[in-house]
Subunit: 368 residues, 2 copies
């Protein structure tokens, strides 16, 4: 299934911070077909470094989508039955307006003049796209990690448009530790002289800082156990220690490679803006209890977390589940056993797929 991203332009988008983006573009891909009553649309929301290419083979890059193991004919998000839509988030660098986009007022990239954005802003832009499609109700909104935050925000902000929500490996607000890891990444980028206050477009980007930020990210996405299984203390390309500062261990080689690869596909300023949006995220926004805010949602919920995910630990999912149950909302919760840490929702999907498949089928049936 070869797929292509499309882009829609809207006149303007008002942001939580008070600014207005005008115009604003959103990149998206779709898989499957909308049914006659428009009741089978699913919005898939990506995590921090994802993009609109969630499934199929990209016409542009030849690569499979980031959730291709979950989306497709006969898969959990069955494109024979459902229309799946995925967008690149606001602030991103893969087709949707972000800091690398040209500011029409200046003719130059926004860079750090791009307004600070929130998860709510991302969702508001997605809402414009869904309205543009003429879809009145989404069968489900779903995503892992930051995608789960967007799903929660959708359910609370647009209760009448969301039939169900599946937040996976996610949270209702970033903890001090999550903020801290993001802050380290931002500091690594901003410490790179090539960052140059964000004005590096057309010049040397802050590749070293961005690579270090990504390395930190990768460690937090894996678990101690999955790293041990994948790398152990195996040496790289040699029998004994070389005693030096070249790569000694396979894990070092892997991190350096992943760090350097990331530079080719991701914009450092998007890193700053999107991590800040995650850190600001608090579903309650200081207004009332989590229960009272979640009570606005009319959706059924399927909440999934993973036993070895220490970045978005299960207790964060359990907090949202407790809040939902306290108001008798319809919520199913499963903590899946997996060794893959936070990455589990991307790589260890067999059980997750079964849960999603069943939940979607029953939700679809009820909604008809």
């Amino acid at each position: 299934m070869v797929v292509e991203a499309n882009t829609v332009r809207f006149d303007s988008l008002s942001l939580d911070g008070g600014a207005t983006l005008a115009p604003v573009e959103v990149a998206y891909e779709t898989y499957g077909r909308l049914n006659a009553h428009k009741t089978n649309a699913i919005l898939v929301l990506h995590a921090f470094s994802g993009d609109a290419h969630a499934a199929g083979i990209s016409h542009e890059t030849g690569k499979p989508g980031w959730w291709d193991n979950m989306i497709g004919p006969g898969k959990a998000f069955d494109t024979d039955r459902y229309l799946v839509i995925c967008t690149n988030v606001l602030g991103g660098c893969r087709g949707t307006t972000g800091p690398s986009s040209v500011n029409p007022e200046t003719g130059c990239p926004y860079a750090m003049t791009f307004p600070v954005i929130t998860i709510g802003d991302m969702v508001r832009l997605q809402k414009m796209l869904i309205d543009w499609f003429g879809i009145e109700r989404l069968l489900t909104v779903t995503g892992g990690s930051m995608g789960g935050m967007q799903a929660l925000k959708w359910a609370v902000d647009y209760p009448e448009q969301v039939v169900s929500a599946i937040p996976i490996a996610s949270t209702t607000r970033h903890s001090a530790q999550q903020i801290a890891f993001n802050e380290v990444g931002r500091q690594a980028i901003m410490a790179d002289p090539d960052w140059n206050g964000g004005d590096y477009y057309g010049k040397q980007p802050p590749a070293r800082g961005l690579a270090v930020a990504r390395m930190v990210g990768h460690i937090t996405y894996m678990s101690d156990e999955s790293m041990r299984e994948k790398f152990g203390r195996r040496l790289r390309d040699k029998e004994t220690f070389g005693f030096g500062f070249d790569v000694d261990f396979e894990v070092e080689s892997y991190l350096r490679y992943r760090g350097s690869q990331f530079v080719n596909r991701f914009d450092a300023n998007s890193y700053l803006y999107i991590t800040k949006a995650m850190d600001y995220f608090d579903l309650t926004e200081g207004q009332g209890t989590l229960s009272s805010v979640l009570e606005r949602a009319q959706a059924r919920f399927l909440v999934i977390s993973f036993s070895s995910d220490w970045l978005y630990p299960s207790y964060q999912s359990q907090e949202m589940v407790r809040a939902l149950r306290s108001r008798n909302q319809d919520v199913a919760y499963v903590e899946l056993q997996s060794n893959y840490g936070h990455d589990s929702f991307l790589v260890d999907v067999a059980e997750q797929a079964e849960l999603v498949r069943g939940f979607l089928a029953s939700t679809f049936e009820r909604a008809q």
Copy 2:
């Protein structure tokens, strides 16, 4: 108790990597007095960023030692009863020979021409100092984190000189995750143009890279829970989000402060060399099983780990305990409940102090 560091110079030290350092200096502090039979000496070994100033108030800086809550008159390491010795490790930057020391052959700092060192090299230098003191047997060797690695190495390499060993929050070898976090710190330093291949002495040091490295370190030393208790999502000096890239959250402010402070007291090249020594550390050195290697030790062991320490998780301490028990060696093990993560051995010491006090008393009695 105002204390001062002393330094001893030795003609040369042979290193595991094949090189020889000549001369080599080691900085140390002592607290308490050696008894007539020289049976009451305790060697305290510091963690990654520590130094010889373990207790009392430094004459130089006016600051208390890093384990002042454990060492002193009437404390766990009771200086009314024992002589406590602490040295700065080889490769360090607080008085002991390291990459910032002047290479006598060139008259310039070693920088990256400093030979790669191991935990075994650190211990070999400490052994020279203990011999210089004329101390034939150490009542105990102890330390947390990297200090525990040195304690284990002492017990295995100099079995007849070590009556007991207390490795705390430590491991017999670095895991892939531990190597990965160290590698991120090294990459952050080496990505800073001011690092300049290590040649920054007398110039601008790689302050930004070192600060980022330290920030990563601090997150790993704390626990999710201790960060939540200490910072939560509290905002820094403002009532509402400023929506920007200045400091928003207290945890960001703390990390930036700790990162920038570290630059004033620690040498970036020492960071590289010491973290590499930790990563190379494998008590077995690929020779035989952990049990067979630990069997060389004649010491009694007290092994301590902390429930919330995710950087040096309890399973690593339990591995050494199992290996010791499998050969009927004398070992007591306690996992202490604490919320402070890896920092627990430094900050949450009440129970640890009681364990150490009792263990030392019975060891001292038996040894007379």
